[in-house]
Symmetry: D2
Subunit: 236 residues, 4 copies
Amino acid sequence: MLERLRSRLEEEMETLAQSPYLARVMEPGFADKRLYAIYMCETYHYTKHNARNQALVATRKEDIPVNYMKYCLHHAEEEAGHEMMAFHDLKKIGIELKLEDLPKPLSSTNALIGYLYYVAENENLFARLGYSYWAERVYEFMQPLLGLMGEGLKIPETAMTFFVQHAEIDAGHAEEVDQIIERFIKNEEDYLAVEATMIASLKLTSKMLDEVFEEFVKIKEGKPTRYTFLEQLGIN
Amino acid sequence: MLERLRSRLEEEMETLAQSPYLARVMEPGFADKRLYAIYMCETYHYTKHNARNQALVATRKEDIPVNYMKYCLHHAEEEAGHEMMAFHDLKKIGIELKLEDLPKPLSSTNALIGYLYYVAENENLFARLGYSYWAERVYEFMQPLLGLMGEGLKIPETAMTFFVQHAEIDAGHAEEVDQIIERFIKNEEDYLAVEATMIASLKLTSKMLDEVFEEFVKIKEGKPTRYTFLEQLGIN
Amino acid sequence: MLERLRSRLEEEMETLAQSPYLARVMEPGFADKRLYAIYMCETYHYTKHNARNQALVATRKEDIPVNYMKYCLHHAEEEAGHEMMAFHDLKKIGIELKLEDLPKPLSSTNALIGYLYYVAENENLFARLGYSYWAERVYEFMQPLLGLMGEGLKIPETAMTFFVQHAEIDAGHAEEVDQIIERFIKNEEDYLAVEATMIASLKLTSKMLDEVFEEFVKIKEGKPTRYTFLEQLGIN
Amino acid sequence: MLERLRSRLEEEMETLAQSPYLARVMEPGFADKRLYAIYMCETYHYTKHNARNQALVATRKEDIPVNYMKYCLHHAEEEAGHEMMAFHDLKKIGIELKLEDLPKPLSSTNALIGYLYYVAENENLFARLGYSYWAERVYEFMQPLLGLMGEGLKIPETAMTFFVQHAEIDAGHAEEVDQIIERFIKNEEDYLAVEATMIASLKLTSKMLDEVFEEFVKIKEGKPTRYTFLEQLGIN
C-alpha cells in the first residue's frame, strides 16, 4: 500500500509542478523576500493547527487501537509549537512584529485548516495519515524551491529554520508514518480514505500557495495589501 | 455594506464564469445526464451538512445576540432535510439506489464541508453569513446552466426540484440574510469576515464543480469511476 | 412508554421531596430573598446552555430523522435567551449588577451543564428528551416552593418571570415532548436512554439545589461568599 | 498554592470518608466480589475517557503555552488504554465477557464523564489539572479500602492491576502534576478554576461510588440488575 500511495503522490506532485505560477516564481528576478514572508505568515497559521488536529483524532469517542492513539498523541506532541519556527523565520528576514499583529489567514489557508479538523473529527479514523504522509516528506520535492530561496532571494539560513530543521525532524516522522500505515491500514476502505485525504490536503495546500502568489503579485503591482509589515523590508 | 458585498460577489462570479470547464459544459453535445447525476450526488453530500453547520453557530459558548441565535436556528430548521431533494432528483432521472449506496463525497466536496464547519465553530460569529449570502442567491447566476440542463440534457422538471423549488424558497432566504447582515454587521472586522467566507466558500464550491467536471470527463473517456450507478442511465 | 416515564419521574420526585434541605427551606423564617437570588444566579447559568445543547443534537453527523431534527432546532429557538428571565428576576428583587459581574457557576451547576452537552453530542440521539421531559413539567411539582417564595419570601410576581412565564410556555413544550417521544421512541434501547437522562439530569439538578442551599447557609453563618451582590439586599 | 490545594483536598476527603455507605462497605461480611466487579465496570467506563478529555485540552483553538500543551499530550499518551486494566481485573476475578457486552455506564458515571469533557473544552485552560491533582494521588486515601478488597473480599492481587499498577504509575504522575501547577498556575483565577474542578470531579466520583453501592444493595436484595454477568461469580 505504501508503494501505491507513493506513486499516487508522485503523480499528483508532477501535476502540481506544472503550475504556471511555479514557473513564474522560478524566473530570475521575479520573486523577492516578500513572497517568502507572505508564505511564512500563512505557514505560521496552518502549522499552528497541526498538533491540534492531530491530537483530535485521539479524542474520538469510538474505539481506537491503543497504539494508534498513542502515535497520534506522540506525534501531536512533537508538532506542538512548530508554528513558532515560521514566526522566527519571519523575524529573521528583518520584520519586527508581534504575534497578535499578524494578518489573519487567507481564505485558502482557512480552507486547509478547516478541512483537516473535519477529517480528524469525522472521516475515517486513519484518514489524517494521508496528510502526514505527504507533509512529512514534502521537503524532497521542494529542493529547487529551497535553492531559489537560499540563493535567489538571499534568505539567510537562519531565516529558514522552518524548512531546514523541520526537514530533519520530519525525515524521522516520515518513517513513523510509513510504519503506522503498514501496521493499521489493512483494507481498501481505509486505504482509500488515506489516499483521499492526501490528495485533498495537497490540493488545498496548492490553492494556498496560489493565493500566496496572487497576494505577492498584487503587492508588486502596488495594490493595497493585508501584509502591511512587508514595508519594513524596504523593497519596491 | 450590502452593496459592497454584492459588488464583490459579482466580481467573483465573473471570474468563475470564465472557467474553461464551464465553456466546455456549454458546448452543444458535450454534456449529458451523467454530469447532472454526478453533480446531484455531490450536492446531496454538502447540502446534508448545511443545516448542521448553520445550527452549530448557535451552539457557540460565547455570548450571542439572541435574535441572531434565533435566526441561525430558524434558518437551520428551514434547511433541514433539503439534501433529500438532490437525492430525489437523482432518482427521477432514472437511477435506482439507496442512500447508503451513494459513493462518498469527492475530496473537494469534503473540503467545502470541512471549511464550513470550521467557520461555524471558530471564525467570527457572523462569518457564515458570507456563505448564506451567495448560496441563497446563486440561482440568478445559474440561469444559463439551468437552461442547458432543462433543454440540452433533457432533464425533466420533476428531476430538478433541488434547483427549481430551492430557488423559490431561497428567494425569501436571501432577503432574510440581507436583513440579518444589515442588522448585525456593524464594523469592518465583521464585514471582512463575512466577505472572506463568501469568497472562500465560493472558491471551494467552484473547485467542487471542477472536480465534478473532471470525473465526468474520465467517464466519457471510459476510465473507471466511483459513480457506478451511472451505468443505469444507459449512456455510452 | 409515556406512562412508564411518568411513573418513574414521580417515583424520583418523591425521593427528592424527602430531602432534609427542602424541609429546612420550608421552615417559616429560615429562608429569605438571598436564597432566591442565589438560585436565580445558578438558574441563569444553566439556562444559558439549554438552547445550545438542544441545538447540538441537530448538528450530529449521523443520520437524523428530519422531523426530529426540526423539533430540536425549533425547540432550541424557543429556549434561546430564556436565561435573561432569570437575570431580570435577580434585578427585580433589588440587585443591580451587570451580566459580566455575575459569579461563575457553582461546580454542581457546571456538572449539570457539562453532562447535558455530553448527552447531546454523544449519547443516544433521543436521550436529551429525558431532560426536556421533566424540565418542561417541573412546575407542577414546584407549587409548594413557589407558594413559599411568593408569600414567605415576599418575592413580587414581577421578580418571578422565570417561573411564572416559563411555566406557561413550558406547558406547551411538555405536550410537544410527549408527542415527540411517542413518535420517535420505539424500542427499549431508546426508551432506556431517555429514562437514564431524565434520572441523571434530575439528580444533577438536585445536587445543584443542594449546593445553592449550602451556599445560603454559609452566608447566614456569616462566612465569606462568592455572591457579594447579596449585600445589596440589606439582609443580615 | 499546592499546600492550599492539598489542604482543601484533605478537607473534602474527610467529608467523603464520613459517608454512611462507606461505613457499611467496611462492615465485615457485607461486601463481596460483586461490589468490586460493579466498581471495575464503571471504572472501565470513565477511565476510557481520561486520555481523551486530557488530550482535548491541547486541541483548544486559543493560545496554549507550548509546554503545557506538551504536558497534556504526554499525559494523555500515558493514560491511553488504561481502561483495559479495569477490564482485565474484571476477567481475573472470574468473569468471562466481551467488551461490547459490558452494560452501559451508570448515569452518575456519565455525569462524571460529561463534566470532564466540558471542563477540558470550555472551562479555564488549566482547570482539568484539578482532576489530575486528586486522581493521581487518590491511592494514598484508599489504603483501608484496598485492604478490605484484598483480604475481606479475597480479590487476588492479579485482579487488582488497575489499583496496584496504577498506583505506581500515578505516583510519578502526581509529581508531574505538582510541577505543572507550580509552573503555570500563577494567579487566583487560575487557582480557583483548578480547585473548583478538583471539588466537582471528586463529588461526581463520590456520587458514582454511591450509585455503585446502591446497585450492589439492589442485587443483594434480589432485585433485577443490569450487571447480569455477576451471575458467573456464583454468589447468592
